[in-house]
Symmetry: C2
Subunit: 349 residues, 2 copies
């Protein structure tokens, strides 16, 4: 579907490991005050005077988490960083550094890795992150990326999953389910392409969905906005596995229940029309789709005036006593127990 | 060669990702004061009041970095942690936390991963390290481990690779080359086993070599010893790729030359006799073998009385002006330019 038009192919073995790292990272600059020493020694050296340090890590495997037949390498690099930054922002912190480790088979020429690192570099630039280390090695099959993100926050600002209280409002940023539908559209085009390699995919009607899948943005802006509004959430989590699963994490760690209102779940119009086209239920997709990288948080009711009417936020429910359980209140006003289906339950195979 | 006698096999898919992480990490305890929150939220939260933070990461791939036909999984878990801690100690710091990410194919039952995590847990216990996060995913082939280690040091104590000065002494801990020879012995036994599966390997004559390969220890003790002796190295690096390669890193980053004396390189008697048996040159193995996880450092001459006679240290040369280059002074008193062969150049294939 997406063909590599680049005809230059430089074998990785020509460079060796050190040559490769130097080549790929030579245009990265250092932007954060907390970075004392980045790449080039046994370990990176960071300084977070008086702040707490946040650490999160994610592993992305070709054939499991991404498919290079429709995921351009530059997008993959960008997205792999976003996945990690999103976890730092979900702690109400500022992301500052990443390490990137990569295992690649020799089917990838240098030019492919340059594309990947161009995406990583763009993410670092847009989010003011420093690349401080990593490891590069060969794999017997495919590509694997392991990224660790490091961030900082004042101790008083860190938000955990376990602070939600009954009557707190449940709020989500952005809209849900589009990334999952973007994947369905790309998978469908891939099947069409297999049957007829001359077909040209027309993705114009799905541009938002495809962008949410291929180039998600982590919600750094929300952390700043909450600070500006002087709202500290009582609990927060990022939505990587689908809304249900994340709500259940907050409920279980905070020992509360919740009522989530189906009619309040924010959906994009393109997402709704594509659900109709695919004949799948939009609520199910929002609840279980995953990969949205939005933030889900709870605030105490007295903070409601501060966020009221802000287009970044949608109040989708409220927390209850633990004994009431975690429920979806449907449009027909029926209470249904929330279950974590996760991503796989929706797959077409 | 090493058969899994454990007959219980629990499929990973029975547990799911969260169940698996919970199962594998439930017996890990938190030991470090700097660990505020370990596993269980979007990110771990650490607090290093006034100290600098050290971060290093390594990726180990089955079939590239380890061979499970002779590497027991518990040893693999232990070694994977050591590889990372060694980098923290090479900065003259204290290691405090690790994240462990793992991609595994479904050929591994739960019991295999329990063994792996038992090794990781033992390493954490012996070195006073907290497991604070990670990611677990399936792979299409084999096993891959990505570990990030975090440590701390007072700013004044951090030792980089770039501080060596002409006339500084070049010092190494422990002895060199044994880990590489251990690998050669294990590879030979694997070939014998392939031809005759009933043969029982007799490794008694190679016990030290095999232990250096399968269960290396990172030199936490050296960081403490240097502190007790009130010696701050002018530069330091860990020996993971072989002595030559590491000396050249110090020379290039410190902009100095060096004379390394062949006769001074510390070798274990078992290593020497096995080199004779394999008909390979022991100096070559020490220079290029790798995986020794010893520390290589430079000190100013005035610190020499403090380390003189200490059995942990061997003075193997001295730094010179950059214009003199990096040289090996052979037993025949000839100067030969040092080159970084690295690990692969020694392989038998």
């Amino acid at each position: 579907m997406l063909k590599d038009k680049n005809e230059q192919r430089t074998s990785l073995s020509e460079l060796g490991e050190f040559g490769l790292i130097n080549h790929l990272t030579k245009y990265f600059t250092i932007n954060c005050e907390s970075t004392e020493k980045a790449i080039g020694d046994d370990a990176a050296v960071l300084e977070f005077s008086g702040k707490q340090v946040l650490v999160t890590t994610d592993l992305l495997v070709e054939g499991v988490h991404f498919d290079l037949s429709y995921m351009p390498l530059k997008h993959l690099g960008y997205k792999a960083v976003m996945v990690n930054l999103s976890d730092v922002y979900a702690m109400n912190g500022t992301a500052s550094q990443i390490t990137v480790s990569m295992a690649v088979s020799n089917r990838f020429p240098l030019e492919a890795l340059e594309e990947l690192y161009a995406g990583i570099q763009l993410a670092c630039k847009n989010y003011n992150i420093d690349l401080i280390g990593g490891d590069t090695t060969s794999s017997t099959k495919g590509m694997l990326l392991s990224i660790t993100a490091i961030g900082e926050a004042e101790k008083k600002d860190v938000v955990y999953r376990n602070g939600a209280k009954p009557n707190d409002l449940l709020i989500v940023t952005g809209d849900l389910g589009s990334a999952y539908l973007g994947l369905q559209v790309l998978e469908r085009e891939k099947q069409v392409f297999k049957v007829n390699p001359n077909s040209q995919p027309d993705l114009a009607n799905y541009s938002y969905l495809v962008e949410r899948q291929l180039k998600p943005e982590a919600r750094k802006d929300i952390v700043k906005l909450l600070k500006d509004l002087e709202v500290k959430p009582t609990s927060m989590i990022d939505i990587s596995d689908g809304l249900s699963s994340e709500i259940l994490h907050i409920c279980s760690q905070s020992e509360v229940g919740c009522n989530l209102y189906e009619e309040k779940i924010p959906l994009d119009p393109q997402m709704i029309s594509t659900c109709e086209e695919f004949n799948i239920d939009s609520t199910t997709v929002a609840l279980s789709g995953g990969e949205d990288y939005e933030l889900l948080f709870t605030i105490s009711q007295e903070d409601f005036p501060k966020i009221k009417g802000n287009p970044n936020f949608t109040v989708i429910g409220h927390m209850t006593d633990k004994t009431e359980g975690a429920n979806l209140v449907t449009r027909a006003n029926q209470k249904v127990e929330l279950t974590a289906q996760g991503w796989n339950s929706l797959s077409n195979d």
